[in-house]
């Protein structure tokens, strides 16, 4: 198992302009190739599934996954990857929320008002954009998420950005996305997809209203492929762990926002999410 | 009626028709002769407004035709039908439709696109075909017909236009002698029975002599002869065709040697060579 590696491949999850993502990771790329002594490559597939498939197929060695994506990887092949680190929020927590929202002028203020309306998920592999709401919302409404059951129609928009824009444009009546739920609604909270959309000038939070909030969701883990040599995994874990202390700017880019850095995490943190995902498969 | 003054056409510096002037007072049958490149086709195409004249005027019953554009030009074209050497029918369409194309100018564009021709027109087309002896061919595709039949369809289309003038550009040049005679007979009959003016470009002297009331001879774009067939002597013919190696009337005249011409005339023609 401790074979030599000839290159190290980091996969980057969707959510931003592909090139921006790659740029944010170039500092990590440099540190890693210095630490490992081999070439390090970055890949930004078009969607979550691209990264998952890469990890399963052994073509990607490391990635920062969402909780649900980790669950998907684990369920397809428990031996493929292991979680090593998780991002720590500014308040020291390692969780975030799925936020349901709608347009103010639609008159919708809660899930009750959404009955018969069009509801939008993001990417099917997103924890906050699909998995958690698809489990917690039925608990709240007492009905399934099938189109026509409680909601008039349930769609996948493809991603967080698309959901936000679709709701803002009125293409769908309500949708879910992620946020840390700290700070102010009018700013789009401190971090998350809404905040980014506001910063980009895409939406005006005055037009939007929060209609639902999930329980806290654990942040997704940084995972390494189990088949990697132990020393490589060790080196990379230490490198990412110490990234905040070493280069705050770089950590900001890699973590996509303000962070206190990364802290170790184990598989157990995600048992509930995996159970949730497994339940979805069963259902 | 038809009044042509100093009509000239220049193609990129090359003058194809050069200051041609003539008058037609009554509907006559006029033959235009001249060797290849003399400008016969160009002259007819200008009359039909398929080609615009460079300078000079064509006027018909006092109306100037030369400068017409758009709808007015198409209106004029519908009054002055044209028959081509290669028939220029729509080969994949049936004969009646081809004849009915003579009414295109009168009917609304959208109606013709959906074949909405009035029943009267359809019946008239059949009658015209019958007059030309090809009514049985009516439902066939034009391409299925022999050359002579196709040319008669073209004449039928021209008649369908109910034109004041019929222009015919070497109508028999691609036909065998038998069919050539039928087609020329038809043109002559139309002229005589309907009293329409017919202007026909002809390749061969003897056809012109036999069928026309008046013959215009062209050479290098100019009119070099204008008179009755009788005035068309051997000397004049030499003039028109250019007395030279490249003119062999005998060769062309065999085309209609089946015509029942007086033997004397044949001899005369042969003497030309």
């Amino acid at each position: 198992q401790d074979a030599e590696i000839t290159e190290f491949r980091i996969g980057i999850l969707g959510g931003e302009n592909a090139q921006d993502r790659l740029n944010n990771y170039t500092c990590l790329q440099d540190y890693a190739s210095e630490a490992l002594g081999v070439e390090v490559k970055l890949f930004a597939p078009a969607d979550y599934n691209g990264v998952i498939q890469g990890l399963l197929g052994g073509t990607i060695d490391m990635a920062w996954l969402g909780a649900s994506s980790y669950a998907a990887t684990y369920l397809q092949d428990p031996e493929a990857v292991e979680p090593v680190l998780v991002k720590q929020n500014m308040d020291g927590s390692i969780g975030y929320h799925s936020i349901g929202f709608a347009r103010v002028d639609s008159g919708i203020t809660s899930l009750e008002n959404m009955q018969g309306k069009v509801f939008g998920f993001g990417d099917p592999n997103s924890t906050s954009g699909y998995l958690i709401p698809s489990i917690e919302i039925p608990q709240a409404t007492g009905a399934s998420m099938e189109s026509g059951d409680y909601f008039g129609e349930v769609k996948f928009t493809g991603g967080h950005e698309q959901t936000i824009v679709a709701v803002f444009n009125g293409d769908i009546d309500g949708g879910v996305t992620w946020a840390d739920a700290q700070g102010n609604w009018e700013d789009g909270y401190n971090s998350g997809a809404l905040r980014r959309a506001v910063d980009a000038g895409l939406v005006d939070m005055n037009e939007l209203v929060e209609i639902w909030k999930s329980n806290v969701i654990p942040e997704g883990p940084v995972v390494l492929r189990k088949a990697l040599p132990a020393d490589v995994r060790e080196t990379m874990t230490q490198l990412v762990d110490g990234l905040f202390e070493r280069d705050q700017e770089c950590a900001y880019g890699v973590a996509a926002g303000e962070t206190l850095g990364f802290q170790p995490v184990t598989h157990d943190t995600y048992l509930s999410v995996i159970a949730a995902r497994e339940a979805k498969i069963g259902g | 009626m038809l009044h042509i003054t100093e009509l000239t056409k220049t193609f990129n510096g090359k003058t194809a028709v050069n200051k041609v002037s003539f008058d037609v007072k009554q509907p006559k049958m006029i033959g235009v002769i001249g060797r290849s490149g003399a400008g016969k086709s160009t002259l007819l195409r200008m009359l039909n407004c398929l080609t615009t004249a460079s300078t000079g005027t064509i006027s018909f019953n006092g109306e100037d035709v030369t400068g017409l554009r758009g709808a007015a030009r198409r209106q004029w074209q519908s009054r002055c039908a044209m028959i081509f050497q290669q028939f220029n029918l729509v080969p994949r369409m049936d004969v009646v439709s081809n004849v009915l194309h003579g009414t295109l100018n009168r009917r609304a564009t959208w109606a013709t696109m959906f074949n909405l021709y009035p029943q009267d027109d359809i019946h008239k087309a059949i009658e015209i075909l019958d007059r030309l002896g090809i009514a049985e061919q009516a439902p066939k595709r034009a391409e299925a017909l022999s050359g002579g039949q196709q040319q008669r369809v073209a004449i039928a289309r021209a008649l369908m236009q109910d034109p004041d003038i019929i222009l015919a550009d070497e109508p028999i040049a691609s036909l065998d002698p038998m069919n050539a005679q039928i087609v020329m007979d038809a043109l002559r009959r139309i002229h005589e029975e309907d009293g329409r003016m017919v202007i026909a470009n002809l390749h061969t002297l003897d056809t012109a002599r036999r069928y026309c009331d008046r013959v215009i001879g062209m050479r290098d774009g100019r009119v070099v002869f204008d008179g009755t067939p009788d005035q068309l002597t051997t000397g004049v013919a030499r003039d028109i065709y250019g007395a030279g190696a490249d003119f062999s009337e005998a060769a062309t005249s065999t085309q209609i040697e089946t015509l029942d011409r007086p033997k004397a005339e044949i001899a005369k023609t042969a003497a030309l060579v």
């Binding site: 302009n17 197929g57 950005e161 000038g201 005006d204 | -």
Partner: protein, 437 residues
């Protein structure tokens, strides 16, 4: 002809035209019925409501203009200046745009008749000609303004957030910050970012002017700074485009190389065994039918994201297409040439080489070059799925929906790329077909 016969012919013609009319109307009628069905199936009636013309305006204006943000963080009172509000476009310390003036009170000129003043203690004053001054005070999460009950529709105000949209820019006030941005036409920083010494210099002054950077010569430095421009990333884009073309090139020619021998197996006159022919043909149908889209997905698992996956997806699909067309070309070869070669006692390979290849090569090359061009287009799309090339950059730029000028830039580059490939393949086709073997 008797009148009776003539009448018969007339009635026949009438019915002929009746038939033609029915035919003439039937087709448009069918199409019309189909379009009516589509009209409702595609929900066209509500399209007008769903269509968001603001977005259209955003695209139209954003794609040829840029904005410069002036942001005051209320907590610290710091004021930042950045093109597009991006880090990479931040003005270096101590510099700022020339339409921002003042020391204690920062004055931002927002077009000819609007002035925004950042006053101390998180107060902001906006002076709009013909409307009057608006003053706003941020305290905690609250924004208090002097706006009355009736506000115009270009202002969106709540007690937490106020947005004022003006022809030349926009002012956004929240408790935490005050942000002003102003639009300018053009693609700012297209050549150099603000941190490059060459920013703001024309090509003429770069070539003839004094050396701007003591370390580097003007032209080499300028080229390097342009090439590595972090805002527009010309280098990455060039790479992406060449990756896309590479996918098309490898896929097309790889497929042609594989398909040629297989096509012999599928052509009747070269493969006497019906079974082999049948198997090869079904194989071609299968790989073609599965389609590049599905191949991309399947291959992405085995090969991971990247241009190789895209190439292979194109290669596999086109092997089917080429196999089919090549074998058709092979079926139509002229027997005479082969016979001529055979009669000299040529060996089988020689027969193919001289009896068959010279005949089919022009047909095949024409086909291959035609596909090279159309595969460049496919590679753009496949790249968007499998993660490579200009296609991915474009789709991501569109999906994040903010940098429309980058989208416009990519689109222009893609169109140029495809038009160049189109004429290149046309030119090569002409040359190679005209060439003797």
């Amino acid at each position: 002809m008797s009148t009776a016969e003539l009448d018969l012919l007339k009635s026949q013609a009438d019915s002929l035209f009746a038939r033609k009319r029915i035919m003439g109307f039937a087709l448009p009628a069918i199409v019309l019925v189909y379009f009516t069905y589509i009209f409702f199936a595609f929900d066209i009636p509500s399209l007008a409501q769903r269509a968001n013309m603001d977005n259209a305006v955003t695209i139209a204006s954003d794609s040829w203009s840029y904005k410069v943000h002036v942001t005051r963080t209320n907590r610290t009172g710091e004021i930042a200046y950045a093109v597009e509000g991006e880090r990479k476009g931040t003005y270096p310390d101590g510099t700022r745009p020339d339409w921002v003036t003042g020391e204690d009170i920062t004055t931002v000129t927002l077009g000819p008749d609007t002035i925004v003043r950042f006053l101390p203690e998180n107060r902001t004053e906006i002076d709009i000609a013909g409307f009057g001054p608006i003053t706003a005070q941020a305290t905690g999460r609250q924004v208090t303004t002097n706006l009355g009950e009736t506000i115009p529709d270009w202002i969106n105000a709540s007690d937490r957030r106020v947005t004022i949209t003006l022809p030349d820019g926009r002012v956004t006030l929240t408790g935490s910050k005050t942000e002003v941005f102003r639009y300018f036409p053009g693609w700012e920083l297209f050549w150099f970012t603000l941190d490059s010494p060459y920013h703001g210099h024309g090509i003429w002054s770069l070539l003839t002017g004094p050396q701007l950077d003591p370390q580097r010569g003007n032209s080499s430095g300028a080229i390097s700074d342009w090439w590595n421009n972090p805002m527009w990333r010309h280098k990455d884009i060039a790479w992406a485009i060449s990756e896309t073309i590479l996918m098309a090139f490898l896929g097309t020619f790889g497929a042609a190389i594989i398909a040629l021998p297989l096509a012999f197996l599928a052509a009747k006159r070269f493969a006497p065994l019906v079974i082999i022919r049948g198997i090869t043909r079904r194989f071609f149908d299968f790989v073609r039918g599965v389609d590049a889209l599905i191949w991309t997905v399947v291959l992405a698992r085995a090969f991971g994201p990247g241009p190789l996956t895209g190439s292979l997806a194109i290669l596999i699909t086109d092997t089917g297409t080429f196999g089919k067309t090549f074998s058709e070309a092979l079926e139509n070869v002229d027997e005479k040439q082969i016979e001529g070669i055979s009669s000299t006692g040529a060996k089988p390979l020689q027969r193919y080489r001289f009896g068959v290849i010279p005949q089919v090569v022009p047909v095949l090359l024409a086909q291959v070059f035609y596909f090279l061009e159309s595969n460049t287009r496919s590679a753009t799309i496949i790249g968007a799925i499998t993660g490579g090339g200009i296609g991915l950059m474009l789709t991501q730029a569109i999906q994040t929906q903010k940098d429309w000028e980058e989208v416009a830039y990519y689109i222009i580059l893609i169109i140029i790329m495809l038009m160049v490939m189109d004429s290149l393949s046309g030119w090569l086709r002409g040359r190679l077909i005209g060439r003797k073997d």
